[in-house]
């Protein structure tokens, strides 16, 4: 995916005042223009996000009594999703490590997909925490100097720092690289490589700190285990790469972004190791709980088999285990890389399985039985599902728009030398456009492609 950099103009600092707004403007055009499929997809997501926003507004007005949470199970679907999304964001690092530490050039070319996924996932994390607040109007209480930030004592403050830091890092890396591509310039090593290396460390830290949120609580034996951190990381290195493989295959199908099998093969290798490690740790945890028995095993017993006739989580966890085992078997199949459809099935199964395991299978049973050993079950209400789907829809919108902007710029189809589109913007966005080739309709004057081709276009193979 090499863009011509030889004849690149060398801009002085003052010229950025002109070129950066053009970059932003062109990004805005790319983000809002596309095929009917794109508009349909975005409209559906917008509708779902609006339903979620309304449900959240009702929750704020009427109180969290509208959720299924209680004083016994005081965190529910929101924090479960938050925990999972941190993993998804951290999982993106599994593209950066091969690309930057092992000099995998094929991976290097598509790493931006993982970084943009991290941005979308972190935004979803922050939204899931926000919708879980009883008093979102008081968010400023956390911001020093006007607020009070209980750092370093509270693990939640660490989480705020690492999540926002990771968001900023990825925004900077993606934004800088895209802007340089837009200008047709070679990125300055100092402006992004140190941040990339920092982001590797940082990705590990976001999931470590998130595990510390739970594992540091002595009153919750189900979470109070040192194994929580490695388990979180192992599952993140399955869910993240699974989602990225699905994304890469979809991008390859829908756009002209040439993605080889190389990155997918590397991600598959990572998944194979991580999913087995995750299963192994699950087995170790289950053995320790059940062989020892006693009150310490109460949550595990409730989760896997039910306790005193209460069994709300049993179907969830066995679904998760079933999905994960089937996914493991498929991932380990030697010729899986040639069978893309089956690979997609495995990715979906692993993704859903881990979503359950991290959420309904980890956050909820931490509260059941309660600290006074009462069993109060938790079932999310319809409002909670609406809010959750809304946040997911918004996250997918962010991811779609990010890719929609990034891919044409990254493949050199859009750059600063291009003439700005006049009244017809339809063809500036062909790269992320499912109907890209079909749009050049002969006989309609308005649809003549006005897109200058770069050398990158010429040398690229069509999917």
């Amino acid at each position: 995916m090499s863009v011509t950099t030889s004849n690149a103009p060398h801009l002085k600092a003052t010229q950025h005042v002109v070129s950066y707004p053009r970059f932003v403007w062109r990004s805005l055009l790319l983000a809002t223009d596309g095929s009917p499929l794109f508009y349909t997809w975005m409209t559906v997501l917008t509708a779902l996000a609006l339903v979620g926003a309304h449900a959240w507004a009702v929750q704020v007005r009427d109180g969290m009594v509208t959720t299924g949470m209680t004083d016994h199970v005081s965190w529910g679907l929101y924090i479960a999703n938050f925990t999972f999304m941190v993993g998804l964001a951290a999982g993106a690092v599994m593209m950066i490590i091969p690309a930057y530490l092992y000099r995998d050039h094929e991976m290097h070319d598509v790493t931006i997909v993982g970084e943009l996924l991290a941005v979308a996932a972190i935004i979803m994390c922050l939204l899931f925490v926000t919708v879980d607040l009883g008093r979102p109007d008081r968010f400023w209480h956390m911001m020093p100097p006007v607020g009070r930030f209980n750092w370093p004592m509270s693990m939640l403050t660490w989480d705020v720092i690492v999540l926002n830091g990771y968001l900023a890092l990825n925004l900077h890396i993606c934004g800088y690289l895209l802007y340089m591509r837009f200008l047709g310039r070679r990125p300055n090593w100092w402006w992004y490589i140190p941040f990339v290396y920092l982001s590797i460390f940082w990705a590990i830290s976001i999931h470590t700190v998130t595990a510390f949120l739970y594992s540091g609580l002595g009153g919750r034996p189900f979470w109070n285990t040192g194994l929580l951190v490695p388990r979180f990381l192992a599952s993140a290195f399955v869910s993240g790469p699974s989602f990225i493989i699905l994304s890469l295959l979809l991008i390859r199908y829908f756009t002209r972004f040439a993605i080889s099998d190389g990155p997918i093969r590397t991600l598959l290798k990572i998944i194979r190791v991580a999913i087995v490690a995750n299963l192994l740790m699950l087995v170790a945890e289950v053995f320790t709980e059940f062989y020892t028995g006693g009150a310490h095993a109460a949550s595990a017993q409730y989760l896997f088999f039910g306790r005193y006739g209460q069994t709300a989580l049993v179907p969830w966890i066995w679904t998760a285990i079933g999905f994960t085992i089937i996914a493991t078997a498929i991932f380990l199949w030697p010729t899986i890389l040639q069978r893309k459809l089956l690979l997609c099935v495995a990715c979906v199964l692993a993704f859903v399985g881990l979503w359950i395991e991290k959420g309904m299978g980890l956050i909820i049973p931490g509260f059941i039985p309660s600290t006074l050993h009462e069993i109060v079950e938790y079932v999310p209400t319809r409002l909670e599902w609406q809010v959750t789907v809304g946040v997911w829809a918004f996250g997918l919108m962010v991811f779609t728009v990010a890719l929609k902007i990034a891919i044409p710029i990254f493949t050199g189809q859009v750059n600063i030398d291009m003439h700005p589109p006049s009244t017809d913007h339809a063809h500036t966005a062909t790269a992320a456009d499912p109907q890209a080739d079909g749009q050049a309709q002969p006989g309609t004057a308005r649809s003549a492609p006005a897109r200058p081709r770069t050398s990158a276009d010429a040398g690229r193979s069509e999917p």
Binding site: T32, S35, P36, T46, L50, A53, H54, A57, V58, V60, R61, D62, G63, M64, V65, T67, T70, D71, H72, S74, W75, D132, L133, G134, R135, P136, D137, R138, H141, M142, G147, R148, F149, N150, M153, S154, M155, L156, T157, V160, Y214, G216, L217, G218, G219, R220, A298, P369, S370, T371, L372, H373, E374, T423, D424, H425, Q435, Q441, T444, R446
Partner: protein, 310 residues
């Protein structure tokens, strides 16, 4: 797509149909967003700017505090129709409060829980209380066999009863985890919450090993004639929706030299409260002469709530 393109629609100046449609879409989207968020404006109607901008309790100057208390009294009048007095009770130097409970004497009548409900202006519908009385099997302190929902004449001959409330730990996990310092331990040992600073994340509820904290899942409802008008900022004033609350050993009473409501309500004298630094106090006598224990000592929370058998 191609078919629709061939239909020529009126073009306004330089604005193409596509741009016009985009503008329409954006307008519709914004309108739908405003409509979706409308419940927030209904909710915000009850909020004042003063409340939004209020500083942390420990940063309020004397005049600011006075204004805050007056505003809270006025809000109670408006929203609940009750005239109340909200005071700010500060800890006394040389006082360290401790609480002990005689499990041999407790009969499980739950009058302490009821007194707490009334004294602390709890929500009526949920029958909330800071005290949970557990019915335990004789010969076992295993909470797994405890039953908080017993519904028969007490005391049952095969059982004993263990009320649990906030233990005002000296190493309080709830205080450590709070991201905004909305809860802290006062110099007399009582762990308090600034209900106007809490953001409602409920991390403290997850951290507490004693199920001592409660969240206001909705706006508490109490008939005006049932409201206890003798209120304090850090304890029994009516809590706002969406914040966490907890037992404060009735600090509005004990800091005035009175006893907690749960103790006064106890018909058997199972409860002993006082200043542990006072050598003549009853609590000191119990701690010196009885073999007291604390719940979940292994967690290192160092409670100030002791149990003993006599």
């Amino acid at each position: 797509m191609s078919e629709s393109r061939n239909i020529s629609l009126p073009v306004l100046g330089q604005v193409s149909r596509r741009t016009a449609l985009k503008g329409l879409g954006a307008t519709l989207g914004l309108a739908a967003f405003a409509k979706a968020m409308a419940p927030l404006t209904e909710w915000a109607a009850d909020l004042s700017l003063d409340e939004f901008l209020q500083k942390h309790y420990t940063e309020l100057g004397p005049d600011e505090l006075k204004r805050v208390l007056a505003r809270l009294e006025q809000e109670t009048r408006q929203q609940y129709g009750a005239d109340v007095t909200i005071t700010d009770h500060r800890p006394e130097p040389g006082v360290q409060f401790g609480y002990a409970l005689n499990l041999t004497v407790c009969i499980g009548c739950r009058r302490c829980a009821e007194a707490c409900h009334i004294e602390n202006n709890h929500d009526r519908a949920t029958n909330n209380s800071y005290i949970r009385v557990l019915e335990m099997n004789k010969g076992s302190l295993d909470l797994d066999h405890a039953n908080p929902h017993y519904d028969h004449a007490v005391p049952h001959p095969d059982k004993f009863y263990m009320p649990v409330q906030c233990h005002q730990c000296d190493n309080p996990p709830c205080v450590h985890v709070c991201p905004v310092e909305a809860t802290w331990k006062e110099s007399d040992g009582i762990v308090v919450v600034d209900y106007n600073w809490c953001i409602g994340c409920r991390y403290c509820e997850a951290a507490c090993p004693y199920h001592a904290r409660r969240f206001n899942w909705t706006k508490p409802q109490i008939p005006a004639n049932e409201i206890n008008p003798d209120q304090s900022y850090l304890s029994n004033r009516i809590r706002p929706q969406g914040v966490v609350e907890k037992c404060t050993y009735c600090l509005h009473r004990v800091r005035e030299g009175r006893l907690p409501a749960c103790l006064e309500a106890c018909p058997t004298g199972a409860r002993v409260f006082g200043n542990m630094l006072d050598p003549d106090s009853e609590i000191r006598w119990v701690l010196d002469n009885k073999r007291v224990f604390v719940l979940k000592e292994d967690l290192g929370t160092q409670p100030r709530f002791f149990y003993f058998f006599s």
